[in-house]
């Protein structure tokens, strides 16, 4: 842990908190920015992947002979080309298995073979010539169905973890997790009002507009290069090397500009396939997924089935709360239910609370993280139940939340005791917001809900070089997914006391910088930001040392103020301040290059809370819901670049709106995904949404020098429940199944009348 990270809460910032243009902006408005699919290489081949049409099938045989004979085909790989290098390490084996099916195809879209050819047309034709002999097996895609004793068992080596006695039969229930404290049964006995309800949510996709793409080049000597759109190129390097049995140092990975990720690009999907094709063909190979492949073979969330029970006394004090959460993780073991179970009641101060999570395996693509993964579904169930409880108690929904909100010193529902947190502040701001009291029309309703996310830090390394002319080259290892280079430049400039424009930030490749964890967990502004600040302080120490040399005084006698070295006091001597530029210009004669570094485990990310308010209009005759007005109130700790903080709030809300109303994975009886495209997987379009108002609260995180918390994820947590509550207030039906698509709302309305 670094020492001097305690924030100076009274600090006045010079550039932090302003809204300068982003350094990568011009490239992105002129078409010059290079994303995953935009790279080419001399002699490049095009790779394509053959995928299973079956949800669950044993692969008896793969015959590639005919495809090999097609002119222009340069390499074909199947499971036989990918030996198991996992040494029994389950995580690595699962990545290998997910990249290319082994004994069985576990979901529709599971890769079974891949081709590299001189053109996309030849590669496509070659795929048609590969003959796969499948033995189709019974499948299961529904989370509740997969838990039944008679469900087809997908893996014969999974025995439910976390139950006593240990099961002797394999099942699709990978794990049971339990969190909480107090005595829930006794708590419920104390309650005057208890509300219990069951909910379902359908799977959604992150829906980044850029499909996965990479360009791999591996030489016969085993060294390789990979260009890839990812949230974590160091992770891609390590995992790909492990899967393929390569030495890590021989694989250099460069992160392209990334066209959205939201968690979906924190996993390895097909990069080892591109590397293996390139290795076999001894040519560069580019693999770009189609949108259909993205939907069928990457990143959806869990679909869930959740039971919630909450009890309170007449005065509105919640005494006991309980939830059982079943999350499917696709065809591989995940820990998605853990996160749902941990976050479900995190907004509240509860004496008796218990959550139980079940991680379930089904014949669907491997679940991936999606912005505060697993939290939105749990919040939907809990926050809907809270509103029902408020209705029964005759208390305003916001007042019930304010009364029971967690605060500093509250023992969280997942265990630890909270430090200073922002749930109370967001609720107070919501209560006083003009949106709360604006008039509503007929068939219109207002809803609100709260949300929580942990945020985290992780392994981080940055390097900051002072150039001859006093400008600064900053290297970070976390891909810039939404303007983070601007925030990094702001923090470096703030610390060094130089203008924002004098700092240029690049995302360094894996050979140029130490390891960095993935851009996830809302960690970049927190952890790369903190590493940048600390690297700047390291550079300042060296700059002061150089100034001391130039003055012939001791380094301890020099201080740094507003971009200048100054003698610490009258005893140090009388010297005019030396600017960073002047010290930089003299670097060659004072000891050579000046650089600051920092590498660490960035722990101490601050938990983050949000409250959302939404107005809807429901057409009683069609079940269509229109979002009329939307307000996000969230604690950012400290907003480094407020425009991009607002952008995170708005973007998360929009994704939540899509999830709430229309987005869902629809499976047929055959276990095949029916809507693998943007036509029928309906993410919100521009005309679906109103402006999204934002209120940034700043309750500083004591563990970051500027008080930063993560802001990226929390904003997707409240919308599902906020909209369900608004629909309930508009037309009097409690929707328990997400998405609240028009047929579901109309059915609920008809069922009531």
């Amino acid at each position: 842990m670094p020492l001097d990270v305690k924030p100076d809460l009274k600090r006045e910032f010079d550039v932090v908190g302003t809204r300068p243009l982003r350094p990568d902006g011009i490239d992105k408005v002129t078409g010059r920015a290079r994303f995953g699919a935009d790279a080419t290489a001399p002699g490049m081949l095009i790779g394509r992947i053959l995928r299973s049409p079956h949800a669950h099938a044993r692969i008896r045989k793969i015959d590639t002979k005919k495809a090999e004979q097609l002119a222009g085909v340069k390499a074909i790989i199947t499971r036989d080309d990918l030996p198991d290098h996992s040494n029994g390490e389950r995580g690595t084996y699962d990545v290998l298995y997910n990249c290319m099916a082994r004994e069985k195809a576990l979901y529709e879209g599971h890769a079974v073979a891949a081709v590299a050819a001189v053109s996309a047309a030849v590669a496509r034709q070659a795929l048609k010539l590969i003959e796969v002999d499948y033995e189709v097996l019974p499948h299961v895609t529904d989370v509740d169905a997969a838990m039944k004793p008679d469900a087809p068992v997908i893996h014969d080596n999974i025995f439910t973890e976390g139950v006593e006695p240990k099961p002797d039969k394999p099942s699709n229930v990978a794990r049971r997790s339990e969190f909480g404290h107090g005595n829930v049964e006794a708590g419920f006995r104390e309650c005057d009002v208890v509300v219990a309800k069951s909910y379902r949510t359908e799977a959604t996709h992150q829906g980044y507009i850029e499909p996965h793409a990479c360009l791999a080049s591996v030489s016969p000597d085993g060294s390789g290069e990979l260009w890839v759109c990812t949230q974590g190129h160091f992770m891609i390097r390590n995992v790909s090397a492990q899967v393929l049995g390569m030495e890590i140092s021989k694989l250099r990975v460069t992160a392209s500009e990334i066209g959205g990720g939201f968690g979906g690009k924190t996993h390895v999907w097909m990069e080892p396939i591109a590397l293996a094709l390139s290795r076999k063909a001894n040519r560069p190979v580019k693999v770009v997924m189609t949108r259909e492949e993205v939907f069928k073979a990457t990143g959806p969330t869990s679909s869930t089935s959740i039971d919630v029970k909450i009890g309170a006394r007449k005065d509105g004090t919640i005494v006991a709360a309980e939830a059982v959460l079943r999350y499917q993780g696709g065809a591989f073991v995940g820990s998605w239910a853990d996160l749902g179970a941990m976050t479900a009641f995190a907004c509240y101060d509860l004496k008796n609370v218990r959550t139980v999570g079940y991680d379930v395996i089904v014949n669907r693509p491997k679940t991936a993280a999606y912005r505060a993964p697993s939290a939105p579904m749990a919040a939907f169930a809990v926050e809907s139940t809270i509103d029902e409880l408020a209705r029964k108690l005759g208390i305003e929904a916001i007042d019930l939340r304010i009364k029971n909100a967690a605060r500093e010193g509250t023992r969280s529902s997942y265990g630890p005791t909270y430090g200073p947190i922002g749930i109370g502040a967001t609720l107070a701001a919501a209560k006083n917001h003009p949106h709360m009291s604006a008039p509503l029309g007929k068939n219109q309703g207002r809803g609100m809900a709260c949300g929580f996310w942990f945020n985290f830090g992780g392994q981080t390394c940055t390097s900051l070089n002072i150039n001859l002319d006093g400008t600064v080259a900053l290297s970070v290892g976390t891909p810039d997914i939404g303007g983070s280079r601007a925030s990094m430049c702001l923090m470096a400039a703030e610390e060094l006391g130089i203008p924002y424009e004098k700092v240029r930030c690049v995302v360094a490749d894996t050979s140029s910088l130490g390891y960095n964890d993935v851009t996830d967990g809302s960690r970049v502004t927190f952890s790369s930001g903190m590493a940048t600040i600390l690297a700047a302080r390291d550079a300042i120490r060296k700059l002061c040392g150089r100034a001391a040399q130039m003055w012939g005084i001791s380094a301890e006698a020099v201080v740094w103020e507003k971009g200048h070295a100054k003698p610490a006091g009258p005893n140090a001597g009388e010297f005019p301040p030396l600017s960073l530029k002047e010290i930089a210009a003299a670097a060659a004669t004072t000891g050579g290059p000046i650089a600051g570094h920092h590498e660490f485990n960035a722990d101490g990310a601050g938990v983050s809370f949000a409250t959302h308010i939404v107005d809807v209009d429901v057409d009683r005759e069609t079940g269509a819901t229109k979002i009329l007005r939307y307000t996000v109130l969230q604690d950012a700790g400290k907003a480094i670049h407020p425009a991009y903080v607002e952008g995170q709030f708005q973007g998360g809300a929009a994704q939540g709106i899509g999830w709430a109303l229309n987005e869902e994975y629809i499976y047929g009886e055959d276990g095949r995904l029916q809507n693998a495209g943007f036509l029928d997987y309906r993410i919100p379009v521009c005309s679906d949404l109103p402006m999204i108002d934002t209120v940034i609260l700043e309750i500083p995180n004591p563990k970051h020098p500027y008080g930063v918390r993560g802001v990226g994820e929390t904003s997707i947590v409240p919308p599902l429940a906020a909209i369900a509550n608004a629909v309930s207030n508009a037309v009097g039906v409690r929707m328990t199944h997400i998405p609240m698509s028009p047929p579901r709302i109309l059915k609920a309305l008809e069922g009531r009348s």
């Binding site: 005759e621 069609t622 079940g623 269509a624 229109k626 109303l661 229309n662 629809i666 029916q674 809507n675 036509l679 029928d680 309906r682 919100p684 379009v685 005309s687 679906d688 698509s741 028009p742 047929p743 109309l746 059915k747 008809e750």
Partner: protein, 286 residues
Amino acid sequence: MRYEAPVSVEAASTLLSEAPGQSFVLAGGTDLLVRMKGGFVEPDLIVDIKHIAALQEIRLEKDGFVIGAAVPCAALSENAELRKQWPGVVEAANLIGSKQIQGRCTMVGNLCNASPAADSVPALIAAGAKVRIRGRKGTRSAAVEEIPVGPGRTSLAKGEFIEAILLKKRKPRSADAYLRFIPRSEMDIAVVSAGVDLELDKAGAVAAARVALGAVAPTVKLVEAAAAAIIGSKLEDKALQALAEACSAACQPINDKRGTIEFRTKVAGVLARRAAQIAFQRAGER
């Protein structure tokens, strides 16, 4: 695959009649290219008809409008007279896809794609539109509702293609309207839709009506009982109720990823009622 861009309908007809294998007409391509990419069709020949000048025009002749097969839907709304006389048809055509799609897609393409959910088709059928078909032996005309015979299938013979859509001249006190239901505000395929064309008598009562429903059966349905339910009325609540019931009764929809049987059945009536009210108001203002 061969690509040809003839400059006359005769040349196009010859190409389409004589080519072996699968040949397709390309106008906007917004359905054809999607089907090609999905591997659903592998054309041997594509005949691009956009270089045939006559097919690029909207002409107002003495009997009504002749809309060339290659006219993109965006051009329909740019024609003030067409918009005035056939607002329902233009609205329907302008609901297909995005602005990007509008710049390319055509009503004839929408018709020949033969989807029961095609937006322009219920409006055209309600409007009593006809098509002029070019074959090897000359031209023939047919009612729009005769073209699709099932999802993805048309009654056109090998070598035949539609040259133009014919809309008659608007009578006094008549108007049309089209509504569809989609879950989002744009970019979706109709879950259910309704086109209504009304003609009022001098007293302002409905003298003639045509009601067509989309996405409730394998092909767009012209519902005569629905029309009968409002003829003679001034769309009083009772008549509207009868219209909606007749529409719902005529539905034979399926459950699919876009909607349920119950939803389509109920909402078909709702949309027909709402569209009738719009058409009624428009007709009354003429």
